[in-house]
């Protein structure tokens, strides 16, 4: 996993002994180059992109996607998808909103209940996938729609509206808010605490991937499931844990969006699950599992945040954002494929 080791393998010394090639084969290298290019472009093209106030805006934008992209990257390295991840951010926020504003539950308790609910759905996703052997794409597509329906129907049923507002009136709101929604001013720029969460999540995920037993297991179950099982890797635990991690990250993002704006829409998060996957893939994750990086996914999210806000800074038509994202995804996949086949030698 280190890039400095000169590997001496009898059969392929030519490929492995070149440090440059090893660096190029790192999953996050493409995303790093792209992030620098995007940053440079908007810095030159617009006047306030590369200021503290500008950075505050695009970092905030990247942070929530970054937290999710990192979790989704772990899941993808482990060989699974979670399409319910987007809607889960709305689901968790709505739970807190409904429980506090309509049932008067203590807000701290509501936040915890929401976390437990998220982990339960994550565990359910994991068990359904592992017990039935169905692809996670299908299983989580199911939970995605179930949750999306619940979000809308239950919110409408209880509140009569499709959004929950006025969270600031809930007792003790101010005691929770700093944890998820606070910000500080640095030289005219507003920096939200979510950026800190994003960095923490990336560091934690990278440490887990590269320095812990669980990290080995994640690569193993995503790479060769049967082999992993045969050598005694706790496959079920690893996969269910990954789905629960993704759900937990969705809870964190749900809380961040709830406490930053003090409102939540019933359709929050719908459609965002693909952006997480795009960030992870741009960051070097393979759709087939067994390969990828948390730092890469974080960089993927950074690119997303920069482009999203950069287009606004440049005063372009923001409707083009998705076209740009799609093109970038294709480019990233082509690049990764090219590097992988080159680094792996002819098959």
């Amino acid at each position: 996993m280190t890039t400095t080791d000169i590997v001496t393998v009898g059969n392929r010394p030519r490929l492995e002994s070149r440090p440059l090639r090893k660096i190029l084969a790192r999953p996050e290298i493409g995303a790093l180059v792209a992030a620098l290019a995007v940053m440079l472009f908007f810095s030159v093209y617009t006047s306030n992109f590369m200021t503290l106030s500008g950075a505050g805006v695009w970092l905030e934008s990247a942070s929530t996607f970054g937290i999710m992209a990192v979790a989704v990257a772990l899941l993808m390295i482990g060989g699974e998808f979670d399409l319910s991840a987007g809607v889960m951010t709305g689901f968790t926020a709505l739970i807190v909103g409904v429980l506090t504003s309509h049932y008067g539950l203590n807000i701290w308790v509501a936040v915890l209940v929401s976390l437990v609910a998220a982990l339960a759905v994550g565990a359910l996703n994991g068990f359904l996938v592992m017990r039935t052997g169905l692809p996670s794409f299908i299983v989580t597509l199911g939970t995605f729609f179930v949750l999306a329906g619940i979000d809308l129907a239950v919110t409408k049923l209880i509140t009569g509206q499709v959004a929950i507002q006025g969270m600031t009136n809930v007792p003790f709101y101010d005691s929770v808010q700093p944890l998820f929604g606070s910000s500080i001013q640095i030289g005219g720029g507003t920096f939200y605490v979510s950026v800190l969460w994003w960095f923490l999540a990336t560091i934690l995920a990278t440490w887990v991937l590269l320095r812990t037993r669980a990290g080995n297991w994640i690569f193993a179950v995503g790479g060769q499931l049967n082999s992993s099982r045969q050598v005694g890797v706790p496959v079920l635990k690893t996969k269910v844990g990954l789905f629960m991690t993704t759900a937990g990250a969705a809870w964190l993002v749900g809380m961040i969006s709830l406490f930053r704006t003090s409102t939540v829409q019933a359709n929050t998060g719908v459609g965002q699950e693909f952006i997480y996957i795009i960030c992870a893939v741009v960051g070097g994750c393979l759709l087939t599992g067994g390969f990828g990086s948390a730092i890469g996914a974080a960089l993927g999210a950074l690119i997303y945040g920069m482009v999203f806000q950069g287009i606004t800074f440049a005063q372009w038509d923001t409707n083009w954002l998705r076209t740009f994202l799609g093109a970038m995804l294709l480019l990233a996949v082509f690049l990764n494929h090219f590097v992988r086949t080159r680094a792996g030698g002819a098959r």
């Binding site: 590997v7 037993r213 690569f219 060769q224 792996g344």
Partner: protein, 505 residues
């Protein structure tokens, strides 16, 4: 070490196991002594793999008992087997390509303190294991995906040794190795047994059993035919008889002389594929069988695939009946009457879920189509004709290809090209996965096809097969043709000698 009266390390008795009503093990017993190499011999489908997986904790037996060091044990999962001291090296290499050598070796039992994996300690122990296995050149930090099949197997073996084990089960370990690597493997096996570790060695190569085995257990149709026979007392013919239940005399049919002045049907001139093989030339006349003999990785299969147009040659020409084929076009090759029966029959040659007749007529669809509709009756009739001619069983053209044995699946591929009217047949490993008994039938069939005027090229990793079947043998090594000889002028030893010399040069 072994505090048991019987002196047995493992004593498995009366094992039974069924899958969805199919009985894989009916009554299998296996006794292993400490420090011995115990070979398990059996045809495909005899139950060898099920036996191994039962001992490795992947399957649980329906009946029977396993006694380990004098105590009856239940092996509930792979972890339990490892804790007892039983490690298994599976035929399909069970390593994770994306992880490093050290990570693979300690996968599932990582060295860790407080959540941190101890990477330098793992690397150190890996280095020690590699030294013990005589492969100090494999770095603990190398990504396993970049290793050769042989080195992956070493990693798999090192993983077995990273546990405190007393028994290693090796499932056809030589299948992916060339002869030099097999020698190395045997060295490792001897090393293990000298330390008192027992090895259960599964193979279908009789000559390997002779070289490495102490005792042998023969399995047939899920039953033990001979248990723990000392190899010194077991003549090869006896073993084959036990394995197949019949006497195998000469399995190769007598060659039919080819007229020396016959026109060549297939002409290959200076064919090269960049980085794989170069300057390959040969001619095949009608009625002639040409065999390519060489080791795994010598470029044999790639040569066939390039002649067929599945790979685009970087230079050289392929001509059929005097007409040059365009490079890299399967369509043109098929139209000119060239048919390929690929090595990976199931994944490259057959549509397994489809019926026999669909598979047989697959390359001749145009002939059975009328105005965009397929004439299924015609297809079935053509298939039935071939089923009869090739003695394909079962004879029902509507049976799905997946339900057939390896030998009969091979016949489907032959039938396909016969229906198509191919005059040049390229057969890559025509008897892989085919039972010893059914092989003779395939051999006879190939000979008959040649006698009927087809030009045939066969590739096989079993040199004996090439020598027994072909009229002319091309010895291939490292992507070059070392020699072109009449088959009766060379024996297996001679081929190997050529290959060794050629590789050294």
């Amino acid at each position: 070490m072994v505090n048991v009266d019987s002196g047995l390390l493992l004593d498995a008795r009366g094992l039974q196991k069924s899958f969805a009503g199919v009985r894989a093990l009916r009554d299998v017993s296996l006794e292993v002594r400490p420090g011995e190499v115990h070979c398990v011999l059996g045809q495909n489908g005899a139950g060898k793999s099920t036996l191994i997986k039962t001992l490795a904790g992947v399957h649980r037996p329906d009946a029977g008992e396993i006694v380990w060091l004098g105590e009856r044990v239940e092996i509930a999962d792979p972890q339990a087997a490892i804790e007892l001291g039983i490690a298994t090296m599976y035929q399909e290499l069970d390593v994770v390509d994306g992880l490093t050598v050290a990570e693979n070796i300690f996968l599932g039992h990582e060295l860790a303190t407080g959540g941190f994996t101890r990477r330098s300690e793992a690397a150190k122990q890996t280095r020690a294991l590699m030294e013990r296995l005589g492969h100090a050149s494999i770095s603990p930090h190398a990504e396993v995906g970049s290793l050769s099949a042989a080195n992956k197997q070493i990693v798999s073996m090192a993983r077995a040794l990273s546990h405190d084990i007393r028994l290693v089960i090796m499932d056809e370990p030589s299948a992916v190795l060339d002869s030099e690597e097999v020698k190395n493997l045997f060295g490792v096996v001897r090393e293990l047994t000298s330390e008192g570790i027992a090895v259960v060695y599964i193979t279908h190569r009789l000559e390997e059993i002779r070289q490495i085995g102490d005792r042998i257990t023969v399995i047939k149709d899920g039953r033990t035919m001979a248990s723990g026979v000392a190899l010194a007392d077991a003549p090869t013919s006896e073993l084959i008889k036990l394995m197949t239940g019949r006497e195998v005399a000469s399995v190769f049919p007598p060659p039919v002389p080819v007229p020396a002045d016959g026109e060549p049907v297939l002409e290959v001139e200076g064919l090269s594929l960049h980085g794989v093989f170069s300057d390959v030339s040969f001619r095949v006349r009608a009625g002639e069988i040409v065999g390519l003999a060489g080791l795994v990785g010598s470029g044999r299969s790639e040569i066939l695939e390039t002649v067929y147009g599945a790979r685009k040659a970087s230079s050289g020409t392929v001509s059929v009946s005097g007409k040059r084929l365009p490079r890299g076009s399967v369509t043109a090759a098929v139209r000119a009457g060239v048919g390929l029966s690929p090595e990976e029959r199931k994944s490259q040659g057959l549509v397994l879920s489809e019926s026999i007749f669909v598979n047989v007529t697959l390359s001749s669809m145009a002939r059975f189509a009328r105005g965009g509709w397929l004439n299924e009756r015609g297809e079935r009739a053509a298939a039935r004709e071939q089923i009869e001619a090739l003695d394909l069983r079962p004879s029902d053209p509507d049976r799905p290809a997946s339900t057939l044995s390896g030998g009969n699946q091979q016949k489907i591929l032959l039938a396909r090209w016969l229906v198509h009217g191919a005059g040049v047949l390229l057969l890559d490993e025509p008897t892989r996965g085919v039972d010893v008994g059914a092989r003779a039938e395939i051999y006879a069939l190939i000979r008959r096809l040649a006698a009927a005027g087809n030009a045939i090229v066969i590739v096989s990793s079993e040199i004996e097969e090439v020598l027994g079947l072909a009229d002319v043998v091309l010895v291939v090594s490292d992507g070059r043709i070392l020699a072109t000889l009449p088959a009766h002028d060379i024996d297996e030893h001679g081929v190997l000698e050529l290959v060794m010399k050629g590789t050294a040069a």
